[in-house]
């Protein structure tokens, strides 16, 4: 008896699905790059220079550098979230792409894994774009910034897995507004993207300390400042934990949804 709760069974058959998504993405790369990559960079520059001109240094770095660390995490989070929610729902529900794939030797476990890896790939691309701007503008000269590349992938895996839980229970696209308004936007404000967490009341600081985006930013910000992050193993473990838990929960929910 195959249970909805059994552990994921993975295979390399997720690769052709990744290639399918990449083939679709290549056809719309122009608008995708503009929307998901240029947009956060424009915000970062606008706020960084505009607001940064009025602010003293924060945590030993100019405001724009402070903001750049937040932007790497924020934009990688957004890329993965949008991908698994809107595009993932399109593939699952609107276009019935999953249904077509399930008639081949590929299983739902492979599909769910491919969704997460694909969304993380888009996060990686977002991370690289912001990083390129950081280097071009000379916001950081530290070789430690190279660690932002695997970090983008990890943040992508984490938020792809969490977002897929929403996709699994969504009746339609409108449902995703709840996730962005009630979870993503408050998280952006609580996790230190725009201002340091220690400006928050103590209760909110406690809430902030368990949120995945805080762990991501606690890794990214020191790296930009040429410092090895404190407790980096703990932050990595937390992000991995969110990713694995999200993967398992979304897989169970999707197994249920697709066996109806």
């Amino acid at each position: 008896m195959i249970s909805h709760f059994s552990l994921p069974r993975l295979s390399l058959r997720f690769i052709p699905i990744w290639r399918r998504n990449f083939m679709v993405w290549k056809k719309m790369a122009g608008s995708s790059i503009l929307g998901h990559l240029a947009d956060p960079v424009i915000y970062m520059l606008g706020l960084g220079y505009g607001l940064g001109g009025m602010l003293p240094e924060i945590g030993g770095m100019p405001y724009i550098t402070f903001l750049a660390a937040g932007t790497v995490c924020y934009s990688t989070m957004n890329s993965a979230s949008f991908e698994v929610l809107y595009s993932g729902f399109t593939r699952m529900h609107e276009q019935r792409t999953w249904e077509a794939i399930l008639n081949t030797p590929i299983t739902l476990d492979d599909i769910v894994f491919s969704e997460i890896v694909w969304a993380a790939s888009k996060s990686l691309l977002s991370g690289l774009a912001v990083l390129a701007v950081i280097w071009l503008l000379g916001l950081s000269h530290s070789p430690l910034t190279l660690w932002l590349i695997p970090l983008s992938l990890l943040v992508g895996l984490c938020f792809a897995s969490l977002g897929l839980i929403m996709t699994a229970i969504a009746p339609g696209y409108d449902f995703f507004m709840y996730y962005f308004t009630l979870i993503i936007t408050p998280m952006v404000l609580l996790c230190g993207v725009f201002f340091p967490v220690d400006r928050l009341p103590p209760l909110l600081q406690t809430v902030s300390s368990i949120l995945p985006l805080t762990h991501a930013i606690d890794l990214a910000r020191p790296l930009l400042n040429d410092v090895i992050p404190a407790n980096f193993l703990w932050h990595i473990a937390a992000l991995l934990g969110y990713a694995l838990a999200g993967f398992y929960v979304s897989l169970v929910l999707l197994r249920k949804r697709l066996s109806q």
Binding site: M1, I2, R13, M23, V24, A100, L102, N103, T104, P105
Partner: protein, 307 residues
């Protein structure tokens, strides 16, 4: 497996949704090279049966083997040698005709070179050689169906599952699909199709199973089903007075009759006495024809609407 020529066998297959049996003790055995039709009204459990047979959902009871693999446990291995034409169109709208075939072939682990080598034959089979680079939204309904059929053949499967393969198509498009399906059986492929078009079942299928409420209620060749279940001749009587006439007279001349709206269906072994009677009733019009699969279907599953 009962013998080497059985490609699919199911015994006592059951699936419940919310305490309700959607598939309720199904036994099916399909031989290599035959076209097997699963007939039934909407909600009879046809699509659920197909999903069980492919290992996409887990049965609550029963034993199932497809191409010598236990399903659902080894359904991945079984699906490597199966092609599926789903009821709802799920082609990739962002891709061209050829790209759809390429991407789908990769799901079976085929190399790009192996898929490319099969492309001309598949496009030819689907009458889409001229549309190789066309985008999916520009194709007609018939073209999309043919491409879906070609896509199901990309891995050169031994068994092909077709769920309502001609639904929503115009007569020209349906005839072309039927021709292609006959070509496939001529090549030795095994076909399992669901349909509620009786002419489709009668034309294509070597054997049929009529399904209702999750059970098979009759099984055999189209001729056997007609011979076993129904009188050989049908006289349909129409007109305003038809129902009234039937209530007083039909029983004298027909073994069995049914009144459906303003039409009376009379089922008879010998139609002559009834035709003579009808010639004496100038206000009634009638049609005399041999019994067909639709008569069997309606007798077995009833005339009331299924929604």
């Amino acid at each position: 497996m009962d013998n080497v020529n059985t490609v699919l066998s199911a015994r006592g297959l059951r699936k419940y949704y919310g305490g309700q049996a959607v598939v309720d003790g199904l036994d099916i055995s399909i031989r290599r090279g035959e076209c097997f039709g699963l007939l039934g009204p909407n909600g009879a459990g046809k699509t659920t049966t197909l999903r069980l047979l492919l290992g996409l959902i887990t049965p609550d009871a029963g034993e199932l083997r497809l191409l010598d693999h236990a399903v659902p446990e080894q359904s991945r291995a079984a699906r490597l040698r199966v092609g599926v034409v789903p009821q709802m169109d799920n082609l990739d709208p962002d891709f061209s005709v050829a790209e759809n075939l390429l991407v789908y072939g990769r799901y079976f682990g085929m190399s790009d070179a192996a898929i490319e080598a099969r492309l001309p034959e598949l496009l030819e089979f689907a009458n889409l050689a001229q549309k190789r680079d066309a985008k999916i939204p520009t194709l007609s309904g018939g073209m999309k169906r043919r491409l879906t059929l070609a896509r199901a053949l990309v891995n050169d499967p031994e068994v092909i599952f077709l769920d309502e393969p001609t639904i929503g198509l115009d007569p020209q498009a349906r005839h072309l699909i039927w021709q292609r399906l006959r070509e496939l059986t001529a090549r030795g492929k095994t076909l399992l199709l669901t349909t509620h078009f009786m002419d489709e079942a009668e034309r294509l299928c070597h054997r049929l199973a009529v399904m209702d409420n999750g059970r098979i209620i009759s099984e055999g060749s189209p001729r056997e089903l007609i011979g076993r279940n129904i009188e050989p001749q049908v006289v349909e009587v129409f007109g305003e007075g038809a129902a009234e006439w039937a209530r007083s007279h039909a029983a004298h001349h027909a073994q069995r009759f049914e009144i459906s709206g303003e039409t009376v269906f009379c089922y008879v072994g010998d139609a002559q006495p009834l035709l003579l009677e009808l010639q004496r009733q100038p206000e009634l019009r009638y049609l005399h024809r041999p019994a067909n699969l639709e008569d069997v279907f309606l007798k077995l599953t009833g005339r009331e609407m299924r929604e």
